[in-house]
Each structure stands twice: as C-alpha cells, then as structure tokens.
Symmetry: C2
Subunit: 589 residues, 2 copies
C-alpha cells in the first residue's frame, strides 16, 4: 500500500523542478535508511511528499519556502509499532498533541480497550477522532474482544463478522495483537475465522505471545500472526527472532523490555525485522519522558547503533505494516521529517508532518481540531443499584475456617500470579481476611448491564487498607474493586457510577480522590498536562492506601482482571485459570 | 499476501506434533534469514509448509518420511527477482525443468515478449503453462507493450484497460519493469493510468531505469516504480540505493552487472533492499552455468557475505513482492528448501518444492506435465509476400552521394548506439554501402499484418557479410534483418516465414542454419538440452558471418530494434531517437 499523492503528475514535475516545490529543507544531515549513510543534502517537498533530495548541488534550493536545517540531522518521522491510545487516557486528538512534539508522526493503534466497551462504535470513534490530525493514526482491528471468550463478558463480542465490518474503515491496516494465543495453538474455529478475514483482506497480523517458544511458538506462527511485542526475556527474544517473528521492543509505562530483548538479539547479523513500540504509556510519562523517541534513546543506551535504532522505529515498521512510501527520506516518500541536533539524544527541534512544519522547539505550530462526538457523552456504566451485601462473600459455613483459592501475586511489583490455597476464617456466614493486611477482597462487577459480580480474595496486591476502584480494567474494563470492607467498596462503586467511570480511592468511608474518565470509562476530555496533574493526585491516593511498591501504582489494578496474564486472573465470572482456560472456584471443596 | 495452506488447523496440529508431519529433514545446518545464524536443526514439514524447526532436541524426528541431510546446509529455495522466460526460448514448463535442478523454486516472470506478440492471450498462455509445475512462476503484468508507443507497432497495445484485465490472473503479483521511464518522468497520461491500475490493485511496481540519476531518478520514483535491475555502474548503483530503489543485481547472458553494482554499494550498512535476477538467460547458460544460484556465486566471488547473498535471492525478494511466507526457513513458511555442501559453491544436492523433494543430485525426481495449447500452434508471422525490392533503399537522387544518419554501435560488444552522419554512394537510384564491410543494411518488417518495413544502415553491427534474420527482436519482435544484399535478406525473410518464426543465417544466397521458434516466433518446443545444441549451430552460423566479438552472437540482433536503449534504435517505423522520442530520417536533408 501507499499513501497516495493527490496529483502525481505535479509531484513528478516538482521532482524535475518544472514547478516550484512547496518547501526545501536545506543543509540537513540526511540519515539514509537504505544505506545507513549520513549525507548533507537539501530535501525538496511537494504536496506533502519528498520529491527529491539533492546531495550534489547544495545551492539548488528553489522552493516556495526554504527552511535552513543549519546542519541538523534529518530523520524520518517516528512510527510506534503498537500502541493503545486509551492507555494514555486521552482522546486521539489530545494524544496527538502530546506525542507529536516528540516526533511521533505515525502510530499503529489498537483501539482494543474502547472496542471492549463500545464494540464497533468504539473502534469507529477512535478511528474518526484520529482523522485529519497532524499525525497518522493507523488502526489495527482488535482481534480478541473479549480477551478470553466465555470466561468474561465485555461490552462487545467480536466474531469474524465484526472484524469483516471493520475492514471497511479508511485507515485499517492490520489485525491487532492476537492475544488469545491458546485459541490459535488449539486451532479454535472462532479464532481461525478471524485470522482468515484478516488474510482475505491482506491485513498484516500482529501477534502477542508472551513466554511462547518451541512448538507452541511454531504453532502460533503457523496460525498467522507474525509479530510480537510481548517478549520479556533474552532467550525468548532470540527464539522468536529465529522463528521469523518480527520483534517489537516495548517500553511502556509498565513493561520495560528493551534491555532484555536487545540482550537476546544483539549478536544477530540482521535487524530488519526489529521494531519499537510503547504499547501503553500514560500521559505523565509521555509529557516528561517522551514517546517512541524515548524508546530509541533507551535502545541506543543499551548499545544499539543509533541508525539501526532509528530504522527500527521508521522503515522497518512501515514494512511490517506494508506501507511502501513511509519511514524513509527518499523521493516519493511521505515528507514526515524530524530535525535534531544529536541522534543519541533524540530530542526533536522541528517536526514536519506531510511536508508541513508542525513543531518547533517542542511547541505545536498547528491547532488540533476541537471535536464533539455524541458517543463521548454517553454513559458507559450500566450497573444496577448496589448494596453493601453485594461486596460480602457468603461462605458455605456459618463460622469456622474454609480453604480458599487465593489469587496470589508473585511479588508486589509483578503482575504474574498463582492460585494458592489458604485457610480463611468465616464469621456469621461471611468470609473474612483473617485480619491480614496483605489480603484484600476483589470484586469484578460487569458494567455492561449483565449484573453479574465476581468476588474473590487476593494476596500481595499491595494496598494495606481502603478501597481502590477502576473501570480501566484490561481488557473487558468491568468495574474492578480491591477493598478491605464492603462499605468502602460500595462507596467507591457509587462514586464510579456518579462520574460515569474512572478511578476512585476510598479510605475510612471517605473518597480521597476521583479520576473521572467519562469517555467509555477509559478516557478523559483533558489534555495531557491537566490529566497528568489529576492522575498524580490519584497516584498519591494510591500511595496513601499503601500501594508504594510500584513507580506507577495506577497500573496495579488495571491488569488484575486480564485473564491472559499467567497464571490466574479475575474476570466478572470469577477467578480464571489462564492456562487451562477455566474458572477456579473460590472455595476449595 | 501469503501462500495459503489448505488446512491451517492441521498445520497447527503438525506444529504441535498432535498429528504426524509429512516429512522431517533432520540434521541440517539451517541458514537463518532473520538472524544470519547457522544452526543445526530438524525441519518439520506438513502440507508443503514448515510447521516447526527443532534446534534443541535433535532426536525429535517423528514424521512420515525422514530425510537425513547429513549435516548439509539448508537454505530457502531461490527466487529470481526478474526474468523473461522467453529469453530462454523455452516454454514455461521446459524452463522449469532447466532451472529447478539449480534450486530456483520461484521466479518473478515478465511475459513481456510474448505479450508484445500475442497480447493478453500471450500473457495468459505463459501464466497457464506455469501452473501446477514443481516451481512457482509469479507473473508481473507487462507495463510497456509496446516499449515505446507511437514509435513502433507490436502485436498488441497495453493500455490501462488491458493491465486491469490481467490483474485477474491467479499468480499476478506486480507490474513488470516500467521501461518507458521517459513517459514516467514526463508524466504521460497513458503511463500514469497504467501505474494507477497497479497501485489500485496493490501490486508492487517494478522499475527499469538505466543510467537514471539526480532529479530524473527522483521523478521516476515519484511516479511509482521502486525497483531497478538495469544498473551498470557503481556510482549509479549507489545513487539508486540511496534513493530507496530496491536494486536487483543482474547477471544475464548479456549483462553482467553484479561486480559494478556490488562495488557501488558494498560499504552500505544495509542490504535489505538488494535482490538478484537473471533477466535474460539462454538455455545453454542455464544448463552449463546455472541460474540464480550462479548469480549468488558471482556475488560471493565479488566479496559479498554468502548469507547476505542468499538473503538477497530469497527473503529480500519475497518482501519486495510482498509475499509474507516465502523465502525463509521458519514456521509457517512455504517449504521450498535447498540442501548443499558448501555455501560458496551453491551447488544444490537436493531441492524440495512445497515440501516435496523434486531434485536429487541434479536429477529431477518429478515429471513435468506435457501440455498442448492451441496458441502454441498458431502462426504468429503475418507478413505479406516480399520481393527483392522491398529490401533496397530508394535514394532521393539517382547517382552520387547522399548524407545518411547511420545507426552506429559504440563498439562491437556494446548495445549502445549513436546516429552518425556519413556520406554514402547512390547507384541507379538505390543506396549502397560504399563497399564498406563494417556497414550493413537493416530492415525491420512489421510481422503483425501492418505491412510496414523500415530500412536503414548500421555501422559496427559486427557481421562482415550475409544476412541474419530474427523474429526475436526486443520488444516488439518484428522481423529484423541485418544484411549485405537484398537477395540474402529476402531468402532469410522467406525462411523465417516458412518455419513460423525464429532465427536464420544466410550466406551467398544459401541458408546456413535455421533456429525455428514456432511458438510466437520466440519459443521452441524443445527442452534445454536439445535447444542448446540447435542454438549452438545458430551461433556458429553467426560466427561464420563474422559476428565473432561477442561470446553469444545471437544477442546482437535481438536488441537492435529496442528503442529504449540509448541513443538510437530501430523500429518498424524507422530509426528512433530514444531520448527525444522521435523518428530520425534516414537521409539528412
């Protein structure tokens, strides 16, 4: 595929200098993605495309506008190989404002979160808000809505027919991360049908295969996915690389995988199947640290050659998504260009999107359209009236001790878990936490009108007291509450309902802070700066409840109900054995 | 795009070892196209695809058939990035028999020659004969039929509508070499419309841009083509590489471009846009020297790393044509596999196509189907009755001297030419050659029923006497005759008509040898071995006429009427100024 030029004849004429070019960026050290060279040149731009790069005659600068790069490096606009914009809690338009100053001109987004909430309408909303921005937001169709069918209920259920419908969207280029790797490996019909739709439409298929290796990895790749951004270990990275998996080195707010992956593949002769991605970065990280430019910086710090690292975030990714004229500085390519002083620092001085300067010294030069979508004002929280008793766990005995499958985090800073049997005390027919501050109740409340509530017990979650609630709860985004008392849980739940979704912290029957995310219970209307302040107050409230072991405590609750992370996770149907794909009962019989 | 597996579920099951694989190639040094490593492993194959490669447990060999590679190297089946099968003078089925023992399992063919003769029917014939062979013959749709519209008449005229019609063929993957680079650079509507059809159908666009650089190259690339196999010079190669042109290093029977191209790009950091091609190799070369394996060998001799060279003839080319599961040894990839002892020697011991062994020790293990197409028996030579006077050039004066634009070869072994004014004697109203043995008459006779004949004079063609005639005459394939006397020319022309096309050598009014090419005047029914003998006799006849300066004299006449090679070339309308795109008169006024 190509990004089409409006008037090809005129572009050819501009290349030949028969008509004046719109812009020339003169005196730039052009970083070449084909040869790896750095050559001083003048970049000619017409209709948003590079018509010509002149390396020989540096006095050749005739154009409507001349921008003097003053010897700065010119590199292609950066591409994020995989990102959930929802993880920034911003709308696509506000996300654009936040990442563009860092030089991200293209993202491959997976609107998976909003897809779980609002189904096709949600994906269309993310698509439509991403239209006509000073950046390119490509869409991969969410492949696993819900993440694990039959073991959770989300707001939507994507079968092949829904995937088929979404292929008609303008900027759809792929099928998003196929997380249900077990469904692929087991050859389940629902998943094979979805993969077939993608192949029939010539969409690339993005993978998601944490810990996979050996025959299981082979089976997954035979099923169709060819990429993976879920690698955490050096040997795992090398195994995947050898098997032809296009590896994306991820550096999200939560998962910092670049050092391990690089360590695994650094002795490789080729890096042409290497990409970079952020997956999930929250607004404060984007504001303070950066975006894909920061991932490049991290890769360079790990020892990667700077040009290889830039290539991984530009043309390698463009090739992965089969976009033929994106990701390099060459004639016929889209004129997404970054100018910077030092490659290692990756600090863009100027950013050009489709031939138009959009950023100078980190300041946006263009206005991002204000928009208003009806769906943004639709309350996505559909939960019946709740009572204190909804959050109490009725035991099979009246008093005494029962054995319980406790969802046990492997550590306070790890999201991996096991089911561990513990003995808990029952008082007056209800389960207690034995007064153990390391234990918490967990409730997952379906928020899509089904009225089912799953209650369980967790160890090593991290809070010492109070209640935390969130409608950001990957991937079904049901209302998830971790709490000490049913009273605190109810207050949190009702506050969530009041603000139409978000995050709430409650202590001693009082709300400490509410982070309202009224768009689908996932997104705020606020731009990055305001949102980051609000999120910071929420973090402080988390710390106050004892969740101090993570740099970003907000990320703790949001993966508690993600039944693709081993070994056990919650859903609105109960505790899920991720590997065996079945519900584990709370009480051990 | 992917080569689709019949039963994906069963392939997944084979990967998991739930069902028995069809074949395991055990104990092979697997050359990895992603990491550049060489690792001992067992390659499992099911339904023609690699289901799994086991590197850890080498005792894991359960499969229906076990092939012991005895520690030989395993590399992917080789891909020729650009070939005209017609140049071998063989049918697609016979071509298959000739190249398969060398490990060529995939070719990207441009049935451009037969397209010029028989139009859409010709392309369909090449496509259909390429079906169900023990190799893969992909089709690029000929983009320039005729090569230079309005300056020559071929048997067909491909406009956008014809290109559109041909996109429906099963194995069409691209638009073939866009030779009319001037039409692109000038933004001519006919060409832009053709390019648009290709882009609308998501076909890759193959380029052809000899000598192009600077703004002209940029304009060409802006027009759409992104590859080139017509590079002859080191600096030209580097310029194209920098501009993002995917370079194919060509090693045809005529053009040996590997050393120059390699010299130009060898210091590049990346070679992921480098491919290899044969373009035009005749049967004897294929038999004696090899095919793409020989091009790899040449690249290695030039100093290229063997694994880089193999990569250039496998996955790089697969990526160029957007074929996602071809060109590497990895799970989910097509099981086209070559086993060989030494990488440098590139001498396949065994070849597997789609998981089935097809060659052992250079012997075919499978039969290639005998076929019979009606079109193969249709006489393509449509020329009116000819007379001696048709080959005499009437001068504007009765006797004396006239100035003539002589088509002058730059050297006896160069195909490039200039128009050079010479004074020639006229006798009895007809032009003479001044008795100069270095001069010859040239006739190009339209053979598609138009009855036009262009007559001219050439210097330094190479023959000393007699007449050479050929219906292989790129790209219009009109009957081209180079001769001393009109009588010899007439004998040659009538012999061509008698055998329905081919090549003829005449000396002193006697036919020395005829190479019959009855299929479209281009192809023989004979397999490589027989054809090579026949062609050798034809070469000897050429030598006998004095054409001794070229290793392969047959190639001299076939490019004489190719009006895309600078600076002047013949067509059935006269002498063409290639750069100015106009007819140059014979007589200087």
């Amino acid at each position: 595929m190509k990004i089409q030029v409006n008037d090809k004849k005129a572009l050819i004429d501009a290349a030949m200098n028969r008509i004046e070019n719109d812009l020339v960026i003169k005196n730039a050290k052009v970083v070449n993605m084909f040869t790896g060279e750095i050559l001083l040149g003048n970049i000619f731009i017409s209709q948003g495309f590079i018509s010509h790069i002149e390396y020989n005659d540096l006095n050749d600068i005739r154009a409507k506008v001349v921008y003097d790069a003053l010897g700065m490096y010119a590199i292609p606009g950066l591409i994020d190989a995989h990102v959930h914009i929802e993880s920034s809690m911003m709308t696509p338009r506000n996300f654009c404002k936040a990442v563009l100053p860092w030089g991200t001109t293209t993202v491959i987004t997976d609107p998976h979160e909003i897809g779980n909430v609002w189904g096709i309408d949600g994906v269309k909303y993310m698509h439509d808000d991403g239209e006509n921005l000073p950046m390119r937001q490509f869409i991969d169709i969410p492949s696993c809505v819900p993440a694990v069918p039959n073991l959770e209920f989300a707001g939507a259920d994507f079968l092949a027919a829904q995937i088929e419908e979404l292929t008609s969207l303008d900027r759809v280029i792929g099928l998003a991360e196929v997380m249900d790797f077990l469904a692929v490996i087991n050859g389940e019909k629902r998943m094979l049908d979805i993969l077939k739709v993608a192949e029939d439409h010539n969409l690339y298929i993005q993978g998601h295969a944490p810990f996979l290796g050996g025959r299981a990895l082979s089976a997954y790749l035979c099923g169709g996915p060819r990429t993976c951004h879920e690698t955490r270990d050096a040997q795992e990275a090398l195994n995947k690389y050898r098997a032809g998996t296009s590896n994306a080195m991820r550096d999200s707010s939560m998962c910092k995988n670049v050092p391990a992956i690089w360590d695994g593949i650094k002795n490789s002769r080729y890096f042409d199947t290497l990409c970079l991605c952020t997956d999930d970065r929250e607004s404060e990280d984007i504001l303070k640290v950066g975006h894909i430019n920061d991932v490049i910086r991290t890769a360079i710090k790990c020892g990667m050659n700077p040009i290889d690292a830039i290539k991984s975030a530009t043309i390698n990714t463009a090739r992965e998504i089969k976009m033929d004229n994106l990701g390099a500085l060459a004639p016929g390519y889209v004129a997404d260009i970054i100018l910077l002083d030092k490659l290692e620092e990756m600090n863009p001085k100027a950013v050009f999107y489709q031939g138009k300067q959009v950023v100078q010294d980190h300041q946006l030069l263009v206005s991002v359209p204000e928009r208003n979508f009806a769906i943004e004002h639709k309350n996505s929280i559909n939960i019946k009236d709740l009572y204190v008793n909804d959050f109490k766990i009725k035991a099979p005995i009246q008093n005494g001790k029962v054995k319980v499958n406790v969802m046990t985090f492997q550590d306070y800073d790890l999201s991996t878990t096991d089911a561990v049997v513990e003995e808990l005390e029952v008082k007056d027919g209800y389960l207690t936490l034995n007064g153990d501050k390391d234990l918490k109740f967990v409730a997952v409340v379906n928020r899509y009108g089904r009225n089912n509530i799953a209650l369980h017990v967790a160890r090593r979650f991290g809070t010492t007291h109070g209640a935390l609630a969130s409608t950001v709860s990957h991937d079904s985004h049901n209302l998830t509450i971790v709490y000490d008392t049913a009273e605190n849980a109810l207050i949190a739940a009702n506050e969530i309902k009041r603000v139409a979704g978000g995050m709430v912290a409650v202590e001693d029957n009082k709300i400490i802070h509410t982070l309202a995310l009224p768009i689908g219970g996932l997104l705020s209307f606020k731009p990055a700066e305001e949102l980051a302040k609000d999120a910071n107050l929420m973090k402080k409230a988390n710390y106050q409840l004892g969740l101090t072991m993570l740099e970003n405590p907000l990320l703790r609750i949001v993966t508690l109900a993600l039944p693709v992370i081993p070994n056990v996770k919650m859903s609105d149907l109960g505790l899920v054995d991720v590997n065996a794909k079945k519900i584990i009962p709370l009480f051990v019989s």
